[in-house]
Symmetry: C4
Subunit: 371 residues, 4 copies
């Protein structure tokens, strides 16, 4: 009776997690977490972009010891993986962002905490105090004073970097959220936005997070905003949501400390390209001036190798973290991270690349290699 | 019980409309509206041609205000969308073309009224008197005097432009219509063709509209016909049904005022290319001498951006208008147009292109970009 | 109840015929007619090769009259279509080859009669005496005297051309025939091979036609065989089964009068290319020295246009003839030919090519056009 | 009533064998034999890489006699096919490797015996004493003395060549084996590894063969290992598991006697390319200095022709041998080999290539031909 793989928490690949989590989560929450914008073409392409690339391994390399460790902003991470900033994690598990921070700390990797978290950024920082590198992800609030205070709070709480999300001047159109009339359960709140003045009319036909966006988030940002951030914070600044090589170039010209190549997990502009497809051109545009992170669709150890071979320094991991959290809280997230780490280690061995430095474009076959 | 999306009139994307309308409409009517020629390969490709293109967005552009407005023949439209000329709209709803004209007026966009309308062109013009730009679509009748009178009537009724359809010297072969032995319900008639002498033998194995075509429509048109139209009408002349860049060039040489790149919604020559696939070459052939419209398969706001980036000035919208009409009359058409408009607005914001002028080929990725 | 399309003999496209015929025919017969070699990859590709090409129509051409007529070996055919040589047609209908010959005559087109016919070549010629051009298809018998007599008989019976099939030195491996232990029903016989001495051992594990091949057909033919045919017959010689441009070149060097580009309907070498895919290179190799016919997968009027635009002069039609024959005898074949003719006529009109001479490579889009 | 094809042992193509064997074998055994690493993308691509290539046949070649014979290391084989080394064949049939060796001998082809065999290499050699060419496949044991003794034993037992497998420094991650908690049934053992000291901790979450690998197999091999093999054995050395042309070049520089281009049947690095896709570049890198064998996905006679046309001298056949063994022991393997041989013979005839030397790259169409 019953395939053993159906037991929650038992899986042999991260791709098995989503259906398990779907069974556990309320439809509305699952819809919010899983869905992408409009026809979800970008959401699907994030996965396909990895699948269509092949790896051409080397043999007869001593792989008795494989080293997955990675340095970012002076911090030493156990692997080139960061937990992506994701809003409202309490919907998956009561411990929400706290559990994720503890798991990231246990796994020795970095985490980025969303402006839209359901725990206060200080509390998350405390939970993740053993985490080698905490980022605070910023959605820019129209009220600039409020924004400035958020950034100061982040610095005081021990965050070591900022991710300024720039691909969401308006919230993407996610049909599932409209269909489910998504809103944050009343027992939870966006803790870091407390104290903000409600602005504008709040319609009822749109999802509640869409209302927050429309009323509070600034759609008028231009590149000079980077200088403003510098003026209120000394933390290193990564911009998250770059796809166009021309914008990557501008970002560096405006002095950012890092770039996150991302289409926001397919949740903003439908038909945007897969982020990994843009990596080679972005690495060309940027050179080695700043670190390049990438996210969207990372599900296998080989995906990380492909991302690095295409030009990334490290990857962000999104939804699988939420699925692990939904299934087993902190422990579930740890299992997700450990699965990915052991896959990465084995794949590096089988590629004949026992350290990250040995992951070069020559490992790649497929469209990117032929461009 | 029942997914809420099944409620007629509730939808989150225009692609959901067709199955809802199919449930409402008689099989014969649905077949006539939905079907394409022969194997329907062109019908499907119209949709796919949009799907296979990606958009490469810009970031850090002030998109606090997005302007979708568009000018054509001196008229100001709220967006670069025209309702395509489509025959026999009473079959969808008793108000037929009148309802569509009212909806186009309410949405502030242009409409093109078919020679094969089930309301008289004057009545439609009255219903759409608030419409910024009414086109009359001409099927050229063998009886040239009758044709001339039609054109004069259109001018007098207030139409501001002509669309001469040139891809239908014979009617395409639509299997659904043969299967359903399609004919216009006897309670309706082709009002604008009343008074025409019946010509030739009327077989019974063919659909009734096919009989009208065979007997009345002129399959002998050549380019000198444009001069004849000029001789009987002062209205601007668009030719509808251009796919070959060589023909686009000839059209301009023969003095047309605009071009509609179209395969007639996949209803004429099966295996004709998707119209959008021909846009770049046609724009090359024509330059900026005349406006270029395109139709076939527009279903999403991003489709409009893609069409413009490929070389169009604006798009025509076909079947979704009929589905909205079938479901809720004028109001249903308004909802369709508003859905598309709000999608376009959001997509422009997320592309970092807050006005139509900022939609350039550099936004495109995919086959066309690589050609 | 029941879709009207299920009524035998009622169809709107030739692709609907096969399932109807399948219902009527014994499994063994259907298997023999329908199947291809091994994995049937070539069988499927014959159809796909047409589907992946598009037609780029011209407009504003006078298509009041469309002329599909075609001349071959001095004969005038109503359209550029020949009935392909196909073995054992009595299995489909008692009138077998006689019915097909009569239908070809009625349609004003050419027919090619197989060596493996179930009526004697003289009787078929009599039935098809009104046929503008009868070909006799030759499988070369090891016994050369027998072969010579066959050819003389064909000339005397009024055949006007020979098709020497050169792609079947051994019979292809068709799984369906093995599965069904195919053999010609005992009530029928291969009339043109009567009097042949049985040769070699006749195993039981192979299909009966496979036994005839192994024992009687010569697998040692080389190009000097053409000269031998000339020495015993004055009829024009077409070689059937050419795919390689190098062989097309050799064929012309050895003085053939025409070439049939064919993979034998996917029944011989699995993974051979679709015949139409080879047309441009073969036309290049051969120039205008001899007519080029092609077969495999022709099912639509547009297929004929594509074949001609790719370099063919005319096409052969295979299986649809058998399906029509199985459903309604001579009348069924006539309906098949008339369906194709009217599709061709309409497609030529919609392409703006009212005569065959106007079907040029510039009408084509797709892989071939891009090669 | 069941399709006759369902009768075990009755089949018309090797691709029908796997489902038949699956019915017979315990789930755990079938899983171990059939599965590939991770998402099985490489496993599938091995099959697809053959399917996407076409063969462009020649005609009018005397194919009265077709010669499939092939010479390797001085031995004469009836066809260019070797049985691939595959572990633990007793799980398929009590006679295991003995039955396979006898079948290879009967078919007049070569066999390669795995280090992980369930019969002792001497016993297999005895069973296969009539086999024209026996290879011993080596997994390099950390204990070098043990390894040296294995090699000496192989030479004494009559093996004529070595295949050193170099693509498995660690065992690939096969989800089916984890799922089924795969371990060798206790009634069987890895006979050639008896006497080895257990090493390291043996976890329970991994498959038992995975434990053997982790504890016993050396992940530190580099190219100087070839010289060590030479120092303890005079047998010719083939390295198995080469995909990268750069490694093929290094292999030859280090003096190997042959190369097996292989991704280990998709069981090691998921997303490695199909082996046949690498053949042309590897043949380029290596020239004619050493024989090149290839494996992965060979299922049809035409596959062998494609492999040779792409640059291989011969192919290894893997899983179909296990399926034949599972269904009918030695006889089942013989049937598999005879099916492939007769397909190869017919395909060579239909290609107009009556000997292996006539199989050249000009027979190929498809991606490789276009590169
Ligand atoms: C449920 C959810 C919420 C997200 N919330 C945020 C957010 O608050 N800020 C942000 O910059 N990105 C957010 N993202 C985007 C992620 O940071 C990341 O770009 C994306 O999830 C990566 O793709 P993946 O889920 O396929 O791994 C969110 C993504 C998801 C799935
Ligand atoms: C039911 C129907 C009727 C049509 N009637 C006409 C017509 O009378 N005149 C004309 O020029 N085009 C006609 N068209 C073609 C449309 O103007 C337009 O080219 C096409 O519908 C656009 O494709 P879409 O439906 O995919 O948006 C018709 C299309 C449909 C679907
Ligand atoms: C049932 C059947 C029997 C055939 N017999 C012969 C034959 O006797 N001689 C021959 O040259 N080709 C023979 N062919 C091949 C046809 O002449 C022709 O090449 C092929 O059927 C064309 O492909 P189509 O069926 O897709 O139109 C046969 C084909 C079929 C389907
Ligand atoms: C069940 C199984 C066991 C295998 N064991 C070994 C082995 O012990 N040593 C080795 O070098 N390759 C081994 N292989 C790989 C094969 O030698 C060969 O590379 C592969 O099976 C060829 O692909 P195919 O199965 O698609 O024909 C094994 C393959 C299978 C399927």
């Amino acid at each position: 009776m019953g395939d053993s793989a159906a037991k929650p928490g038992r899986y042999f690949s991260l791709s098995e997690l989503e259906p398990q989590a779907q069974e556990r989560l309320p439809k509305m929450v699952y819809g919010y977490y899983a869905s992408g914008a409009d026809s979800e073409s970008t959401l699907r392409d994030n996965i396909q972009a990895f699948k269509r690339r092949r790896l051409l391994p080397r043999i007869m390399v001593d792989v008795g010891h494989v080293d997955t460790s990675f340095s970012l902003l002076g911090a030493k991470l156990k692997m080139p993986v960061l937990v992506a900033p994701m809003a409202m994690q309490q919907m998956a598990h009561p411990d929400g962002e706290l559990a994720v921070a503890r798991a990231a700390a246990a796994a020795g990797i970095s985490m980025s905490v969303s402006t839209m978290a359901t725990y206060h950024l200080e509390d998350v920082a405390k939970a993740g105090s053993a985490c080698p590198l905490l980022f605070f992800q910023l959605y820019v609030i129209k009220d600039r004073d409020f924004t400035a205070k958020l950034l100061q709070g982040a610095a005081e709480a021990g965050y070591k970097g900022l991710m300024v999300t720039v691909d969401a001047p308006h919230l993407g159109h996610r049909q599932a959220d409209e269909r489910n009339q998504f809103s944050l359960p009343t027992s939870m709140s966006l803790r870091n936005l407390e104290g903000l003045q409600p602005k504008g009319a709040h319609g009822h036909s749109k999802s509640s997070i869409s209302q927050v966006f429309t009323s509070q988030i600034d759609p008028k940002l231009t590149w000079d905003f980077i200088a403003w951030v510098r003026s209120v914070s000394t933390l290193p600044i990564f911009v998250k949501g770059v796809l166009n090589p021309a914008d990557a170039h501008l970002a560096v010209q405006h002095g950012v400390d890092g770039i996150v190549v991302s289409n926001h997990g397919g949740r903003q502009l439908d038909f945007a390209p897969a982020a990994v497809d843009m990596l080679p051109a972005i690495r060309d545009a940027v050179g080695r001036q700043v670190p390049i992170l990438v996210d969207g669709g990372v599900r296998l150890g080989t995906d990380i190798i492909k991302a690095i071979a295409l030009g990334a320094d490290a990857v962000l991991l999104g939804r699988p973290v939420l699925w692990g959290l939904a299934l087993e809280g902190q422990q579930g997230v740890e299992k997700v991270l450990e699965t990915l780490r052991s896959e990465l280690e084995l794949a590096m061995a089988l590629c004949g690349a026992p350290s990250l430095a040995q992951i070069t474009p020559s490992l790649l076959m497929g469209p990117a290699a032929r461009l």
